[in-house]
């Protein structure tokens, strides 16, 4: 009446009913038994438990290809998921992944109660529109940093669970960012304004990158590094304490993502210096895309209006934030340097973009 699988299960249950238990699992992993941990002041972190036997991360992920946890005994008949294509530690690892995961768990916030929404105030139309346009841009770009890790996570060998866990926190962070900027755009009598075609070019390059490390270099270091500076700009230009709080909280998350990206690229290039050219190639594409994005009216003009204190002072505002672009480039180059990549001589876009230079180029004295 039942098929073979169910009958096998019923037979096993019958044996148990007669008092015949297997119990082999109890002694299956002597090397991993007797593990001792000591919680720190922040509680019991991943860093606290991943010691000794459980700290042994293999250079090559296990060939069983299953979700079996690293450090346990894996029975020979465990079926493979046949999904893992990222089986080399160097392809995904970062020495700070564990720590960043703990930090991300510990420093979570939420857009519902951690932002002082009650302090929103009626703003002049040009200021509200500028804030809403900035938010529209962030809503558009933020979740690429959720989609990108989501695309790769199920291909990462489960032995590198620290990286998967960290990427999972990043997805949550980006969900929160998308959510908080959408809320701000809709919360004060304004709404979403214009999308950015130039952003899509950069987002596509991130999502369509051929491998994880090039995607990560473009997103974690380049994209998130630039956005981190834009968050700092947002805090700098914020018209109320509400936006100030939003940008400060988002800034913290973004800096974690950048820290993972820098350390991953460093780890990767130390083991695969021959792949440096591929990283440069994807950064070529990224730089051109971000250059177009930076100068798009819906990106730069709202910031200039906020910096000038109103649309009537937009030119003054442009001058006030003229340093923004060169600051983004400088920090980007410095992060790549930490990762072991000398990029300055390879850049395909200008390192500086002053108003004076642009006027000179336009033939205006």
């Amino acid at each position: 009446m039942y098929n073979a699988v169910v009958n096998e299960g019923l037979d096993r249950m019958s044996e148990m009913a007669r008092g015949n238990f297997d119990l082999d699992w109890m002694d299956s992993n002597p090397a991993g038994w007797g593990h001792e941990v000591k919680p720190g002041k922040t509680g019991l972190t991943l860093c606290d438990v991943e010691t000794g036997h459980y700290d042994q991360v293999p250079e090559h992920g296990s060939s069983h290809g299953s979700l079996a946890p690293r450090g346990c005994m894996v029975p020979d008949d465990t079926p493979s998921l046949d999904m893992y294509t990222l089986n080399e530690m160097s392809e995904v690892w970062s020495d700070n992944a564990r720590h960043l995961y703990d930090e991300a768990c510990n420093r979570q916030w939420n857009s519902t109660t951690d932002v002082p929404w009650h302090k929103l105030e009626k703003l002049p139309d040009d200021i509200e529109k500028s804030v809403c346009q900035m938010c529209t841009g962030f809503v558009e770009v933020e979740f690429v940093a959720g989609d990108m890790p989501a695309k790769w996570m199920c291909h990462i060998n489960h032995d590198f669970h620290e990286v998967k866990l960290f990427l999972a926190t990043q997805i949550m962070d980006e969900a929160r960012h998308m959510d908080v900027f959408r809320k701000r755009a809709l919360a004060n009598g304004g709404g979403l304004l214009m999308a950015s075609p130039a952003s899509e070019e950069l987002l596509a390059a991130i999502l369509q990158a051929n491998d994880y490390t090039t995607a990560s270099s473009l997103m974690h270091i380049f994209g998130e590094g630039f956005i981190l500076t834009l968050f700092r700009t947002g805090e700098f230009l914020a018209p109320t304490e509400v936006e100030k709080t939003i940008f400060r909280l988002c800034m913290q998350d973004e800096a974690r993502h950048v820290a993972y990206g820098v350390k991953h690229l460093k780890y990767f290039l130390e083991r695969h210096p021959e792949r440096e050219g591929e990283i440069h190639s994807i950064l070529d594409a990224g730089e051109q895309a971000i250059f177009r994005l930076t100068l798009e009216p819906q990106t730069i003009e709202p910031r200039a209006i906020l910096a000038g204190g109103g649309i009537e002072n937009i030119e003054l505002g442009m001058a006030r934030i003229g340093f923004l672009y060169s600051k983004q480039i400088r920090e980007y180059l410095h992060r790549l340097k930490v990762a072991g990549l000398e990029r300055e001589s390879r850049m395909v876009i200008p390192a500086e973009l002053s108003v004076e230079t642009l006027l000179e180029r336009a033939g205006v004295a």
Binding site: R232, E235, P239, L249, A255, K327, V338
Partner: protein, 159 residues
């Protein structure tokens, strides 16, 4: 700490005052999450009795760990700082304006937050041994802001 007695800025005592308040407000810092970084505050243009490398320069190191800060010390020079750190540098006049603004308002107004003051690299500058160290200032920014916001809790005098 007597809350009506002015504490001299910059001094180890002034930073210890903030650290002590951090301990009293641990619940707030738990809510924000653990902080793991070393901050060096550099004060330039102060009185000439400074122990720093240039006359009038002073350096103070605060080590943040978990939900508090357990080490505060004055450094003779930046070379004495822990290997991993970032530096917040400003003139005494800028520090004074920021602290007085916090004291006057209970927290900084829009133009006296740490990010506002450091973002254009003037009047306050954030530097570090490398960019990742500088990035820790961004990673823990809200906690660091709350740390300085505690300056509203006691009067400050200046050298």
């Amino acid at each position: 700490m007597g809350k009506n007695k002015a504490i001299l800025f910059p001094s180890e005592d002034w930073f210890r005052g903030l650290v002590s308040l951090m301990g009293e407000q641990e619940a707030t810092y738990r809510e924000l999450g653990a902080t793991d970084c070393t901050m060096v505050v550099k004060v330039t243009g102060g009185a000439s009795q400074g122990t720093g490398e240039d006359e009038g320069e002073k350096f103070f190191e605060v080590v943040f760990e978990d939900y508090g800060a357990d080490k505060v010390r004055e450094l003779a020079s930046i070379e004495e700082a822990s290997a991993s750190h970032f530096v917040l540098e400003a003139s005494l006049e800028t520090w004074r304006e920021m602290i007085d603004n916090i004291r006057d308002n209970g927290s900084p107004d829009l133009e006296h937050t740490l990010n506002y003051l450091t973002f254009p690299d003037d009047p306050m500058l954030v530097t570090g041994p490398d960019q990742l160290e500088v990035d820790t200032f961004y990673r823990y920014n809200e906690s660091l802001q709350r740390f300085f916001n505690a300056a509203a809790e006691f009067p400050t005098s200046y050298a």
